[in-house]
Amino acid sequence: MIVCAAVIGQANNPLYLETFQPGSDDDALKFHYIVHCSLDAVDEKVAMPKKSPADTADPYLGMLYPTEDYKVYGYISNTKMKFILVLDEPVAREDDMRMIFKRFHTAYVDAVSNPFYTGNTPITSPSFDASVRAIVSTPV
């Protein structure tokens, strides 16, 4: 189950970070930490040299790093927007994760297509939040 979803901007600033675990207040801090740490992993993955020149970069980064309790997955758009999902159990199939990220990305694109949204500011749109929640509650 997805317990945390985050959108991180180009300057590695969080635009959206929501936790979906019915739990205590510490959660927010904990997931802030996890997501923040995962950015290093994202950087590493992005910096990895391509296998061949014709290789197109896959936006899906796969599992960034596992912690004791959580697995962190990442996805990076062409505009270097990072999407991070924290799961409390590993997914059975990578393709599922890929699909979830695709939906997440689409939801983000919808949100920032709002002409009243200013780029690189926290996303406060309730409809984006709702669509993320929908993605989280029905993972596959």
């Binding site: 590695n12 600033n13 802030h32 930490y33």
Partner: protein, 1247 residues
């Protein structure tokens, strides 16, 4: 510092100096320098050329050479505690010196690609740290290779004294322990002190030198002369910097090469009594010493050692020799030596490893590393990596290193590690931040607050504004607390302030942060007095949604008026300002307007309030108290701050509940003319913290200037005002204006105009935009209630003394606008007010929006403003009330009267409506059905004044949401007049207000756009009522509200005007048949009964007609539809109930008109007789004169034609078949034929 340089500088041979107390005293007393200090600056030789041959056969030349001098007494390692203590001091001193708290902005530096290693304290630390490690147990690096013995030249027996000196000298630990052979190179120096001023003492000294040389060897003894100067500050050499550079800090307890205490510095500075001759003698001595004694000695040693090593290949004690050997080779810049050293060291290391002498092994490894570095080999030492740009590895090495270190060292290492991360490509900013935070924590733990702050600040630079809220919160928290401890209260306040917008934190944290911040503010205030205003993030202000309200030439009386664009008002105000019509503006006007816009300056009037609407929000879950919320301004005179002689500031106070949002209007009143700029807002948060937010002046974008946005909107963002001197100002109050009115209601609202300005005003003019709103020409009837006003028209005297009247009663402009002007002589002094009744009469349900605008002029001359305008917009909901549909039909039993039917529907859901008056204006008259005659009775009256008309009271109450129909008689104009008693509750038709609305209603209904016709004209000449013109009706009603206390309110009165009610079908010639309805005839005697009928004809048009009457046209006639019906059964009982006959119930005396109103019935009562479904069998025959011709029937005239019908049996007959045709020769030969009305006759058998 380049590491290679570092090695060649630091890892140099050491010379132990043993000096006699006399020699020391001579040196220290006058110069503040120990003997060692004296020698050190000259221990560097760079112009040597000494050939050296160590291993192998090739010789090489040493060109540079360094020596280090240490006093033998100080050659021991200080205690760990003392060293740490000392290092702490070094670091804090360095931090203070380099202003560590001014941290660099890492991100900025990264962008510019110039990340500076801005950690001078680290270099200082490292230098000193290495020094404290010197003379360690396994450390042979600082072991002396030579010993310099110094005696005062006055010593009695120098040779013996030199021997004693060496024996009594405190030896370095390794020598003490016996690890090092005592036999080292010795050199002897005699110091001659010139300051003693003894005659011939120098000669004596030279003599002593000779004797010493004789016994100790010529090359190893020297004489140096010092203190030949006068000690006068004016004649010093100025070498103070030179001496100082070689003096290092003293560690308490001494050691590490420095004495525990330094001699006092003489007044003239260090080396006060040294002359250049002295200095030259010292340097010459040292050069001699090095070239003649030291280097050859070293060369021999190295060779010997090498031989030994290669011979024995192992042996624990070899270590020292090897190190000595290495030393010399390290000094030589030639590569082959390093290689030789390397191989020897490798050999050694393996020996140590086998011997498990770990410490020694480590030492050898260290040296191995150094040697490798010099030879360009590879190794993973941090420093080395840094030099080679392998910062990642350096970071790793340092990170590994820091774990077991004490706080300060760990912190320094972490800091370095963090900085290395910046050099990695791409820079590891986040890791850098993390390391820095760790370093900051360690710094704080070891009391290096400044460095801790610096570390945190650098991290803050990385995260500030990135919305990592928890991280920022932590950083600010630590920084704030540390700043507070460090006494930098202002910085603490800044940091605590940055923590305030913490909506993500739980409530108790928010409260805590707020409290913490306020405490810091209080402390800062206590320490420094009043604090400058802070850019407080609480409450959050939305400056984008800021609107400025001000009154310049135009005053908006309410917010609704502001919603309408300037163009709208300009159009309305065009009649006041003939020159300013938008359509008439020329390019000259445009230019001036642009200039004004370029000035970016609004106009305001002294003494009047400016306002800024601001939106405040409390993002926290804690209540916020805002006091002294006010505008910050700057006046031309320089005045600013609170209220003063120039500006009066109105302060607000409010409390914002958790998550609350409020819109506040902040006001300010300029009192004197000048330029005034609004700068921002200021407030006092929770009683302590003074917050301030400046307005940002936005440039007007091109798009805005030509966009559809009203000009007013743009002006609302200009913050500069040109304040004009005091002006009159008209304020309007529409007190009694309800938000809801009924359709057709007549409502009077008192209009209160008041001069609130500082000057008298005059020439008031008013314009009302909507025809449903009207102003009385005078204000005399303000006191009475609406009904009395409407009804009292006739009884009121023409003009009462107290009332004022308009100069012009009201010009009606296009689109129903009305212009009123008060007498120009009427002056409204400041504070004076003017009441005027405003009548509202909404006529369509929905909403009524009307605009009023006033024009007035100051009675004196005011620079900059000739007139002012006041604008007001009101919107009123209009509810459906009474819907009246009239229909008029011909009255069957009279040639003149008509039958008026009113279908009345009450649209109100709760309140019944009482109909109180039906009036018919003009020459038509109305009467109730109960009235027999046309001239009315007690409750109807005839208007005899201008316009005329009749009124009556239908006395009907329409229940909520019901419909009913009323029937009345309507009399055409020609009838005579009658007298009617006047009642107080009648609304006279001639009432000016009623008349106005009636006229306006007609105009709007007809869609007539009339241009500039005064209402007076309309009133004076009511339109003539030709015969063809319908009747204008007015139905007045009253809403009977059923709520309790309704009595307290005046009744709500309404009027519906019905215009031009005409007959549904216009009949030019009306006809009616008279005759006896029951005829008795003895059929037994006479088989035929003759019934006489009279057909009355009336010409209703205003032209003469010729009429032809023809009775009894046969059934075959195409034009006449003779459908005479026959009813078989004599007596009315046979008649079907539904076949109510025409005209029978109507007009029957004794039936009150109200009875006829059938509640809820929507259908029209059967007025036409339903023909019975029997075959038409004419049982009667028209006889006698069946055709009559009336050649000329004058307009409005009546004529009668007698007709006869023969009936042959008893029964009831409907007599039809009279055809009437007419021709109007003057009306284009208008011709028509119509069947006459049927007539019912009952013929009974006479007894």
């Amino acid at each position: 510092m380049d590491f290679r340089n570092y090695i060649t500088q630091e890892f140099t041979p050491v010379v132990m100096v043993v000096s006699s107390p006399q020699a020391e005293a001579a040196c220290q007393q006058h110069n503040g320098l120990t003997v060692v200090d004296l020698l050190r600056p000259y221990g560097f030789f760079h112009h040597l050329s000494v050939p050296v041959r160590t291993v192998g056969d090739t010789a090489y030349r040493i060109k540079e050479f360094r020596l280090r001098f240490f006093a033998s007494a100080d050659m021991f390692q200080p205690s760990q505690e003392a060293a740490d203590e000392y290092l702490k001091g070094v670091v804090s001193a360095s931090a203070t010196e380099h202003k560590a708290h001014e941290a660099q902005d890492v991100l900025q530096a990264l962008k510019k690609d110039e990340v500076a290693d801005s950690t001078p304290w680290f270099n200082g630390y490292r230098k000193e740290f290495v020094r404290t490690l010197a003379f360690g147990e396994h450390e042979t690096f600082d072991h002396p290779i030579a010993c310099l013995l110094v005696l005062h030249a006055q010593a009695e027996d120098p040779v013996a004294d030199f021997g004693d000196l060496f024996k009594s000298a405190p030896l370095p630990p390794l020598m003490k322990a016996g690890l090092m052979e005592h036999k080292i190179l010795k050199h002897y120096l005699l110091l001659h002190d010139d300051s003693l001023k003894l005659d011939g003492s120098y000669l004596k000294a030279e003599e002593k030198l000779r004797s010493v040389r004789a016994s100790l060897g010529a090359s190893s003894c020297h004489l140096a002369r010092i203190n030949s100067g006068s000690g006068d500050p004016a004649c010093t050499l100025g070498y103070e910097g030179l001496w100082k550079a070689h003096i290092r800090g003293s560690i308490p307890g001494g050691g590490a090469g420095e004495p525990a205490e330094r001699p006092p510095v003489p007044a003239a500075g260090l080396g006060a009594r040294l002359t250049s001759a002295d200095v030259d003698s010292i340097s010459k001595f040292l050069e001699d010493f090095t070239v003649r004694a030291l280097l050859p000695h070293l060369e021999g040693r190295v060779r010997g050692l090498n031989h030994q090593v290669t011979a024995t290949r192992r042996g624990l004690r070899n270590q020292i020799k090897t190190l000595l050997w290495r030393k010399s080779s390290a000094d030589s810049p030639a590569a082959p030596d390093y290689h030789t050293a390397l191989s020897t060291l490798r050999l050694l290391s393996s020996d140590y490893k086998i011997d498990k002498a770990w410490r020694n092994y480590a030492g050898v490894q260290e040296m191995l590393g150094l040697t490798l570095f010099m030879t360009g080999g590879s190794m993973s030492e941090a420093e080395y990596s840094r030099q080679h740009g392998q910062f990642g590895e350096a970071n790793y090495a340092l990170m590994k290193a820091h774990f077991q270190e004490e706080n300060l060292r760990a912190a320094l290492l972490l800091e370095q590690a963090a900085l290395y991360l910046l050099h990695i490509s791409p820079p590891g900013i986040r890791k850098f931040a993390f390391h820095m935070v760790l370093a900051g924590l360690r710094f704080n733990a070891c009391d290096q607050k400044q460095l801790g702050l610096s570390a945190y600040r650098q991290v803050l630079g990385v995260y500030a504004g990135r919305q990592w809220s928890f991280i920022e919160e932590h950083l600010h928290d630590v920084l704030g607390k540390q700043s507070r401890e460090a006494g930098d209260l202002e910085a603490a306040v800044q940091h605590f302030m940055a923590m305030l917008p913490c909506a993500h934190s739980p409530e108790h944290w928010q409260a805590h942060y707020l409290r913490q911040f306020l405490e810091a503010v209080q402390q800062a205030q206590a320490a420094k007095g009043e604090l400058a205003a802070l850019e407080l993030p609480l409450p959050s202000l939305n400056l984008d949604r800021m609107t400025i309200f001000f009154d310049d030439q135009v005053v908006h009386a309410n917010a609704e008026a502001l919603k309408y664009p300037e163009e709208h008002w300009r159009k309305l105000e065009a009649p006041f300002l003939p020159g300013s019509d938008a359509s008439l503006s020329s390019w000259l006007d445009g230019a001036s307007r642009n200039n004004l816009a370029a000035l970016q300056c609004n106009t305001a009037v002294a003494g009047e309030t400016l306002g800024v609407d601001l939106e405040l929000a409390n993002p926290l879950a804690v209540e916020l108290q805002l006091a002294h919320l006010r505008l910050v301004y700057e006046h031309e005179s320089g005045a600013s701050g609170g209220s003063n002689a120039y500006v009066q500031v109105l302060e607000e106070a409010l409390s914002l509940k958790a998550g609350a949002r409020a819109r506040v209007r902040l006001k300010l009143r300029p009192l004197r003319p000048g330029l005034l700029t609004l700068k921002g807002v200021e407030w006092l948060l929770n009683g302590h913290a003074l917050g301030r937010r400046m307005f940002t002046v936005r440039k007007r974008t091109h798009r805005r200037s030509n966009s559809r946005l009203p000009k007013q909107r743009a002006a609302n963002h200009i913050l500069t005002f040109s304040v004009l001197p005091a002006m009159p100002r008209l304020d309007v109050a529409l007190d009694d204006l309800p938000s809801r009115l009924l359709e057709g209601e007549m409502h009077r609202a008192p209009l209160l105009l008041r001069n609130t300005g500082a000057m008298p005003l005059q020439s008031i003019r008013m314009l009302i935009s909507h025809p449903d709103v009207h102003c009385n020409p005078d204000n005399s009837d303000l006191g009475a209630d609406a009904m009395a006003c409407l009804a009292g028209e006739r009884s009121r005297p023409a003009s009462s003394s107290a009332s004022e009247s308009l100069e012009e009663p009201g010009l009606i402009l296009k689109a129903g606008q009305q212009l009123y002007a008060w007498s120009p002589g009427m002056v409204l002094a400041p504070g004076q007010q003017l009441s005027w009744p405003l009548w509202l009469h909404p006529r369509t349900p929905g909403s009524l929006t009307f605009h009023c605008t006033w024009y007035y002029e100051p009675s004196g001359v005011v620079e900059g403003m000739k007139h002012r305008l006041l604008r007001l917009t009101q919107t009123i909901d209009v509810q459906a009330a009474l819907r009246v549909t009239p229909s008029i039909s011909i009255c069957q039993d009279d040639l003149h009267r008509c039958l008026l039917r009113l279908d009345v529907e009450n649209g109100q859901a709760t309140s019944p409506i009482a109909l109180r008056q039906l009036s018919c204006s003009g020459s038509w008259r109305v009467s109730s059905l109960s009235m027999e005659g046309p001239h009315g009775s007690a409750d109807a009256r005839q208007e005899d004044e201008a316009g005329g008309g009749t009124s009556l009271d239908p006395q009907v109450v329409v229940a909520p949401l019901t419909r009913l129909s009323l029937f009345f008689h309507l009399h055409p104009p020609s009838s005579a007049t009658g007298d009617i008693s006047a009642g107080a509750s009648w609304i006279p038709l001639a009432n000016q207000v009623v008349q106005y609305f009636k006229t306006q209603g007609r105009l709007t209904r007809q869609g007539v756009l009339m241009t500039r016709r005064s209402t007076g004209d309309l009133l004076a000449s009511p339109p003539p009522a030709p015969l063809g013109w319908g009747a204008d009706l007015m139905l007045a009603w009253e809403l009977r509200e059923q709520q309790a206390g309704a009595a307290a309110r005046p009744a709500r009165l309404g009027i519906n005007h019905l215009y031009n009610c005409k007959m549904q079908e216009a009949v030019p010639v009306r006809m009616m048949v008279h005759g006896e309805s029951v005829v008795r005839h003895g059929f037994a005697n006479d088989g035929m009964c003759l019934v006489r009928l009279v057909l009355c004809l009336r010409n209703c048009l205003d032209q003469p007609a010729s009429v032809c009457v023809e009775a009894g046209a046969g059934p075959g006639s195409s034009t006449l539809d003779s459908t005479g019906s026959w009813c078989a059964a004599p007596g009315s009982s046979a008649l079907p109930a539904h076949a109510s006959l025409p005209a029978i119930p109507l007009g029957t005396p004794g039936v009150p008109a109200g009875m006829l109103a059938t509640l809820g019935s929507t259908g029209q009562p059967d007025s036409g007789a339903g023909p019975l479904a029997l075959p038409a069998t004419p049982d009667y025959v028209w006889c006698g004169r069946t055709r009559a011709n009336i050649p000329q029937l004058e307009a409005g005239q009546t004529s009668q034609v007698e007709l006869q019908v023969a009936v042959f049996g008893a029964g009831t007959y409907e007599l039809t078949g009279v055809g009437v045709s007419w021709t109007y020769p003057d009306l284009d030969n208008l011709h028509a034929t119509k069947l006459g009305p049927p007539f019912l006759v009952t013929v009974e058998e006479a007894a």
